[in-house]
């Protein structure tokens, strides 16, 4: 990704990209799958910095992501400035960005891959949502390879799943409708099983 496009992506995510440039960025994104991936990573980092992944990331983590991004070019008050860090640090910054993104992705995957085994019949207690315990004391980030195997068979054949979701969307009267509809538009390859153990077919 060129420096100019990186600047455009950053500015767009900060809501500061002029409309004329937004159109150009949009066209590039539509054509360029690699750019879309980078865009997704930037958006993820942005959310981490803004704290919307609260409860999952430590303060230290957000700081490291910030530092890592500082190793590249970041907008400061609408202007793009050069790295504040020493030049020798830059190679590590890229690795830190990648690690940070990986951590976020892994955390997200772990959250998604864990298939809760709460069953009907068990005592149902609505747990009041509360901020997760602060993990500020755990500065070290551990990485875990997600257990979800991309080769695992889907629990529900994708064409059939599409039919279910399409039928369900009729009753998604709330805000979840936009997600349901958007999800239906996404390539079927994305519809992966949530977990290996959940994907097993029952023997006849």
């Amino acid at each position: 990704m060129s420096e100019q496009i990186r600047e455009q992506v950053s500015a767009f995510l900060d809501g500061e990209l002029p409309n004329s440039e937004t159109e150009l960025l949009l066209k590039r994104l539509t054509r360029d799958g690699e750019l879309r991936e980078s865009f997704g990573r930037y958006a993820l980092i942005g959310e981490a910095i803004r704290g919307t992944t609260r409860g999952l990331l430590t303060k230290g983590f957000a700081g490291r992501v910030n530092l890592a991004i500082d190793g590249e070019l970041i907008p400061v008050n609408g202007q793009f400035s050069q790295s504040r860090g020493p030049r020798w640090w830059r190679p590590f910054a890229g690795a830190a960005v990648a690690a940070g993104v990986a951590a976020v992705a892994v955390v997200a995957l772990q959250q998604r891959a864990v298939a809760p085994t709460l069953r009907a019949g068990a005592q149902v207690t609505a747990q009041v949502a509360a901020p997760a315990p602060s993990a500020a004391s755990h500065e070290a980030i551990s990485y875990t390879v997600p257990t979800t195997s991309p080769a695992a068979p889907a629990a529900i054949p994708r064409a059939r799943l599409t039919n279910y979701v399409f039928a369900h969307s009729r009753y998604s009267s709330g805000l979840d409708l936009r997600g349901v509809m958007a999800d239906l538009l996404i390539e079927a390859e994305e519809q992966q099983p949530a977990a290996n153990e959940a994907a097993a077919h029952v023997a006849p």
Partner: protein
């Protein structure tokens, strides 16, 4: 009138006016800032305005670019949702019919959709039940797409449902960005506009699908006039996560199947979960027949296919399928995995109890 009375009237009137203003102003201010009022404004904008926008759909670091066109003309609603960079899939709604073009599956699904909300979604009227399970609040205002935006959060109070954060255009109340969040506030999925126009008129050509339909299979599905068999209709969830209740029970043909499935809809007022109960027969939707069970609808000489069992991800939501008393039970919804799993596991035959029909 005595002097005292005149004098009293003389200062009482201005006091009353000032008092009325003091009472009215905070109410007006509260109304202007009330997040619920903004959500209602958003609903109104989404359903009544013309708009043409391109937005990004981000989920798990993956980005899809999509275009939405929504037109209201003489009370007739037309809408088109198009993937610009991925599957080439498109949805086109023309008033009361929704067509889903799935070129990757060589299929076109058609379903009647009378009185349905816009693709971009809107919030139902909030009742007391919604307040019990969601907390709605205003967050600090910000700018997005160069526009001043209100930020509203709809926070779930437990782990059985997702929440939302919405960035609403201060001028039009259109949602410029939305996030789907879990009960801890973690962002699961987000949609944000790169471009959003609200033209006075939208030409017909903007609502025509770009998909080439030659050689594609047309499949009509939707609510069935025929009721599901008594055996299927007797099924329902015996236990539900807090706040969920049965809102719809009916029959639905799925994927062009000749035998309708029982379709149950459970809702907490905002989130919805569909439950499909199907016979494991040769003419069940999907490819071929599956292993027959012990249910009354079972039985087929067609090649057997293993019954579905397990959890599948559906974008940001989940589907969970299991076999109950020889029937295939599948719960689908934009809710956490545990919610669909909980509901599907609790489904059982209630022995022909009367259900509310749609």
């Amino acid at each position: 009138m005595t002097w005292v009375a005149r004098n009293r009237a003389g200062w009482l009137i201005p006091c009353a006016i000032v008092g009325a203003l003091l009472t009215a102003l905070p109410q007006r201010s509260r109304g202007a800032d009330d997040p619920r009022e903004w959500l209602q404004k958003m609903n109104h904008a989404l359903t009544t305005r013309n708009y043409d926008g391109t937005f990004f759909h981000l989920s798990e670091g993956r980005v899809e670019t999509m275009r939405i066109v929504h037109r209201v003309r003489s009370g007739r609603v037309s809408e088109r949702l198009q993937s610009l960079d991925g599957s080439g899939r498109e949805f086109v709604r023309d008033n009361d019919e929704l067509t889903c073009y799935l070129p990757d599956q060589h299929t076109i699904l058609v379903e009647p959709r009378p009185e349905h909300g816009p693709f971009l979604g809107s919030l139902p009227q909030f009742g007391a039940d919604v307040n019990e399970f969601y907390r709605i609040e205003s967050l600090p205002a910000t700018h997005i797409l160069g526009r001043a935006a209100r930020v509203i959060a709809v926070n779930p109070k437990d782990q059985f449902r997702f929440g939302y954060r919405l960035w609403l255009d201060e001028k039009t109340a259109m949602p410029l960005k939305t996030q789907l969040c879990d009960s801890r506030g973690q962002v699961i999925e987000q949609i944000f506009f790169a471009r959003l126009d609200m033209p006075e008129s939208i030409p017909d050509s903007d609502l025509v699908p770009a998909v080439r339909t030659e050689g594609m299979r047309w499949v009509r599905q939707g609510p069935s006039h025929d009721t599901a068999s008594p055996a299927l209709s007797a099924y329902r969830a015996s236990e539900l996560p807090p706040g969920f209740r049965l809102t719809v029970a009916g029959a639905q043909t799925i994927g062009g199947a000749s035998v309708p499935a029982s379709h149950l809809v459970y809702s907490d007022g905002l989130a919805t979960v569909s439950v499909f109960v199907e016979a494991q027969a040769a003419d069940a939707p999907g490819a071929g027949a599956r292993v027959t069970g012990t249910g009354a609808d079972a039985g087929s000489s067609a090649p057997a296919e293993p019954p579905m069992q397990g959890l599948a991800r559906v974008g940001s939501g989940f589907a969970f399928s299991t076999v109950v008393q020889g029937h295939q039970v599948t719960a689908v919804g934009e809710v956490p995995a545990q919610t669909v799993e909980f509901i599907a596991h609790s489904v059982k035959s209630s022995g022909g109890a009367e259900l509310p029909h749609r």
